[in-house]
Symmetry: C2
Subunit: 457 residues, 2 copies
């Protein structure tokens, strides 16, 4: 990989950064307009991340963060764990962004801030709450979200350094969720759930989940981070799927903001969500441009954990965790589909990424050989899956299962559509993710009224 930026790149990044700084300077006059500032910060995040990935690549390789791309003819070593760079830029940007949504209102709402001259502020309070400005308790939520993301990045880097065992890995997002859960406990403590209409005669309108709500939030973090981490292995898929999910959430937020009248409790939540996601999109696009086929850098587990945690934090504090689960359906399917191998019901090879055929240059589905005969019920289940076209099973003359395709959605795609080049495979999966996500959002907004009395929860 070229470590220096080309002249075109330098000029493009510089002009983008300057434009963003100009926009930011403009937002300082008048109300601050945090949403516009957030877009400008996302542009800055993109530029910084793009440049840093190039500049730091060789330093990462020297420090041992490097790996070979197994799906290529020439397996040169490229930098690993570049998601950590992404995450660092993101974390810095969302902290620097704080004064835009929080400043003015804080001063007004805390009746004089720390020791500020109270009288001067009271005049501003009279004029009421400023558009797009958050009340003070949102700041604690925002900071706790940032803390959770910090924690997951630290633990993710630990994982990339030390190769933590699978059963410990799973718990990383749960530990990282602690700051968010604790501040949620201290700050809101709302653990009530809206009960779907058909169940209301039995449970009432609101059902208090109590401590189970905290378990639910921790589980959502675990699911979101690990499901993105499992759907990985080919160039660009980790970053691109995260981008698709982020864009779908942004679409959902934008729809809310456009179609609901302003003073609405949901507005704040969706703005909050946008402020966290826009810079994430900025850094992810920069990373994708280096990680897309043929990859010049790898993202590392750090990125997958980080991306999953951004979604979890966003979904929980933006109060749309059920929508988030809808958007993670392909990942959820991949997890359920992988479960027989993950839980060692069926043998699991060390790598399950597709097999690269050096002669054709195409990826083929990778297979697992069963050296010991499988137990009867398992063998029959595999054959059934084969008949349903959900697996490619090979049997010997006696009808015993001798091998099958590996249990990942990536291999399943290759079973369905035959060998293809790495980028076409990634594009196919992304198209599926997008289509299912759009369908999910459609269902969520059209059908929600069937089970709930109102949509805006």
């Amino acid at each position: 990989m070229a470590t220096a930026l080309s002249r075109t790149e330098v000029y493009s990044l510089l002009s983008l950064s300057l434009a963003c700084c100009g926009i930011l300077a403009n937002t300082l006059q008048g109300d601050g307009e945090p949403l516009i500032a957030s877009i400008a910060f996302s542009g800055l995040a993109f530029s910084c991340c793009y440049a840093l990935i190039r500049w730091l690549g060789s330093a990462f390789m020297r420090a041992g963060f490097k790996g070979k791309d197994l799906c290529k003819l020439r397996q040169t070593e490229i930098p690993e764990t570049m998601g950590a760079v992404c995450a660092m830029v993101y974390l810095l940007i969302i902290v620097i962004f704080i004064p835009w949504p929080f400043y003015k209102d804080i001063v007004a709402a805390t009746s004089g801030g720390g020791n500020r001259d109270v009288m001067r502020e009271l005049e501003q309070v009279e004029t009421g709450r400023l558009l797009h400005k958050f009340p003070h308790n949102k700041l604690a939520s925002y900071l706790s979200a940032t803390l959770s993301l910090h924690t997951i990045v630290l633990l993710g880097i630990g994982d990339d350094l030390f190769d933590i065992r699978w059963r410990h890995k799973v718990l990383i997002p749960a530990i990282a969720a602690i700051p968010m859960l604790i501040v949620y406990f201290v700050d809101f403590g709302v653990t009530q759930m809206v009960v779907p209409t058909p169940l209301r005669p039995y449970l009432g309108e609101l059902f208090d989940l109590g401590w189970l709500y905290y378990v639910y939030m921790a589980l959502l973090s675990i699911f979101s981070s690990n499901s993105i981490n499992i759907l990985a292995g080919i160039n660009g898929i980790e970053v691109a799927q995260s981008l698709v999910i982020a864009l779908l959430i942004v679409l959902n937020d934008a729809l809310y903001l456009c179609f609901t009248p302003y003073p609405n409790p949901a507005t704040d939540s969706h703005l909050f969500s946008l402020y966290l996601l826009l810079p994430f999109i900025g850094v992810s696009v920069a990373l994708l441009m280096h990680n897309w086929y043929p990859a010049k850098v790898f993202v590392g587990d750090t990125y997958c954990y980080f991306a999953g945690m951004v979604f979890a934090v966003d979904g929980i504090l933006g109060h749309f965790s059920k929508t988030l689960i809808l958007l993670l359906l392909p990942q959820g399917f991949n997890f359920v589909y992988s479960a027989p191998q993950l839980f060692h019901i069926v043998p699991c090879p060390r790598h399950r990424l597709p097999h690269f055929n050096a002669r054709t240059g195409l990826l083929e589905c990778s297979r697992v050989e069963f050296k010991k005969p499988l137990a009867r019920p398992i063998a029959e289940s595999l054959k059934l899956l084969h008949r349903l076209r959900m697996l490619d099973v090979e049997t010997d003359e006696r009808g015993d299962v001798v091998s099958s395709s590996n249990f990942t959605i990536i291999n399943l795609w290759l079973v369905w559509f035959g060998p293809m080049r790495e980028d076409r495979l990634a594009l196919g999966l992304l198209a599926l993710q997008t289509a299912l996500g759009l369908l999910g959002l459609f269902i969520r907004h059209r059908m929600a009224l069937l089970v709930f009395t109102q949509d805006n929860w």
Copy 2:
């Protein structure tokens, strides 16, 4: 190093942890008593950190975090960067601690938290603010302090991994200070300084530093972190000096809390400071027990940055930054004394740690040879320092300076008191630090009234 804990260690740590859990369970009844909870959490932090240092040592060495102890006869490799383990435990503990000081009052103060049932809480508000409970805006400060510490740990690990250049290193604490500064800006925005009495006719009672106050806070972070990082090189000195400083600040806080009547604006600040420092003392003691002569682990730059940032955050948000500077006087002296070598006025060798004499087993001051003759004024200054017993300079027959002891307080100590064993050297420096610190606190409280009208700022 033994990676498993001995039976005695297991029982001691387990019984300490159980005792701490018992105390914590007790604090859940009644008012919560955050100070007692904080002490219990510090005990837990000690146990976790002690065990993790032992368990993770070999994993760190496998990941390449290892180094040789240059001041020993047998230079076996031992784990490096164990300060990162310390920092992780600390960061987790201070987040889990949040509900103790913040919970009840938050609910009362935010008029019903997020969407809580407002009526129920209002009854509690009537009974007034609970002892030791913080108002809501302290939570944002506390979280921003945690964020700054997270950032410095991330950047510190980056430094340990990538060996960042000196001129970039210096800026690490400034970047890490950003979350604290931004939340300070959003939350308090107090940038006024109390003017010493003799200057009041010219400046008034309060002087508004404006943005210079933020520069001051950033500089304090840079100074605090780097000065601890520079006074390093012999077993235990980094951790032990941090412990001495932490204990002196705790003493200062305890004096305030004992001798000022309760409803006092300074009480909250000093409690805040204690809550941040007690767990720091817990993890540092665990680290010191492994890092003291003969060291079984190294602490890494991560620890030095982290410790310095804990003090900076504590001093700034606890509003006793001037006292902190007093306590850092030996580090400040070491920095000024080192400056000629740091800024390359005099040649600086790669390592300036004392020279180990394998025959006697003692440390001697290390020397820098001047291959090129020094400029006249510099040579004369060195000779003057030699005459003042502040340096050991060697001259040839023509009177030209050919070598001198290295410019660190550690080497100066060896110049003054002759060769000695590594632990005696560390103890001597620590005694100096303690004595100067106590003197500083005495001066600060006895003399403050000479230049300020009241002591409690």
